[in-house]
Symmetry: C2
Subunit: 197 residues, 2 copies
């Protein structure tokens, strides 16, 4: 999505260690009008998928997921992060390793809100090593629901998450894929994506 | 807002200890089309306020805030909860006592995203004892920004938060105020609010 790539290049910051900061418009301050255009692009890309629910994970995925859900006319469910040791039987749970925070946490969704009838689109703001998305896929499988695809705002193409998901046969649409970044110049090079606007 | 009151009565669950569960449409599974109508109602109620930014707190406030922000045509900033002891100089921070989780945590917002030029509307899903909102007000004051008001989806009118904020002279609009709840019948009684739709 050219508009998002341009915005990342203009307002994002590249730091040493392949860190891309987009907190001025994506995941701390949030430009909801950009989110609305991103939601419409997800809708176009998944136009043929019978999505009836969007699944995301707290916290920064919730904004994009909710605004995108307006274009799909479906509800959103967000997985909660918890460090509670005793997970009761009322929830589906999975373990996620956080690279950023260097710890493992549980993610949970109430069994009431994921069922075998559900056709799920996962939406999240970032895809790096893919651990969060793989955790969400665990929950979907445990519920017997159908995964229709994964929509990501910004994929770090030089980390393994995107490749892992594509090799699993999962339909993955990332609106911008950062192929490489240069902290000295701030330049981000994006992967060409012909299907995208 | 009659529509929200009816939805709470229909799909909410009252439990012993004055607990109101609305997780099927408000704060775990989220009905974004209801959020859109709630956002339009906030816009109507704060039509004369020169709001240029919405502030909320992770996680469950983010969805309502982002969808409401589409009606205001302004960005959203969400405060992050952290238990990190070393808060650096790049953020405004405040301490919040969580009644639900029985602990104290820090909330932080980057100094980049709250400035003296900002006119802030706080939006959150629930108001009970008001600690989260008071923490957000702390951040706004530290930044020298202007608080235009507070918009809440569901206020527990029998807890002290609403009264405290109103006595401070803060403009508070809660779309539904639960005055009392009966766990044996599931009945919720709402406060009359003439200005609201």
């Amino acid at each position: 999505m050219k508009l998002l790539e341009e915005r990342i290049q203009r307002d994002g910051t590249v730091k040493e260690g392949n860190i891309l900061k987009v907190d001025s418009f994506l995941n701390h301050q949030m430009d909801v009008e950009l989110f609305d255009l991103m939601g419409k692009e997800f809708r176009r890309l998944f136009a043929d998928a019978p999505v009836n629910k969007i699944l995301t994970i707290e916290a920064s995925g919730i904004g994009i997921a909710c605004v995108a859900a307006l274009s799909f006319h479906v509800p959103v469910v967000f997985a909660k992060k918890t460090q509670t040791l005793n997970i009761d039987g009322q929830v589906f749970s999975s373990k996620v390793d956080s690279f950023t925070h260097k710890k493992t946490y549980d993610i949970i969704v109430s069994k009431k809100f994921l069922t075998p009838e559900d056709h799920i689109l996962i939406i999240d703001d970032f895809l790096a090593n893919g651990c969060a998305v793989l955790g969400l896929i665990d929950l979907i499988r445990a519920a017997g629901a159908t995964l229709e695809g994964v929509g990501i705002a910004v994929e770090k193409g030089f980390q393994s998450g995107g490749q892992r998901l594509r090799e699993m046969g999962i339909r993955l649409e990332s609106l911008a894929i950062a192929e490489s970044m240069d902290a000295s110049t701030g330049k981000v090079t994006f992967r060409e994506q012909p299907r995208q606007s």
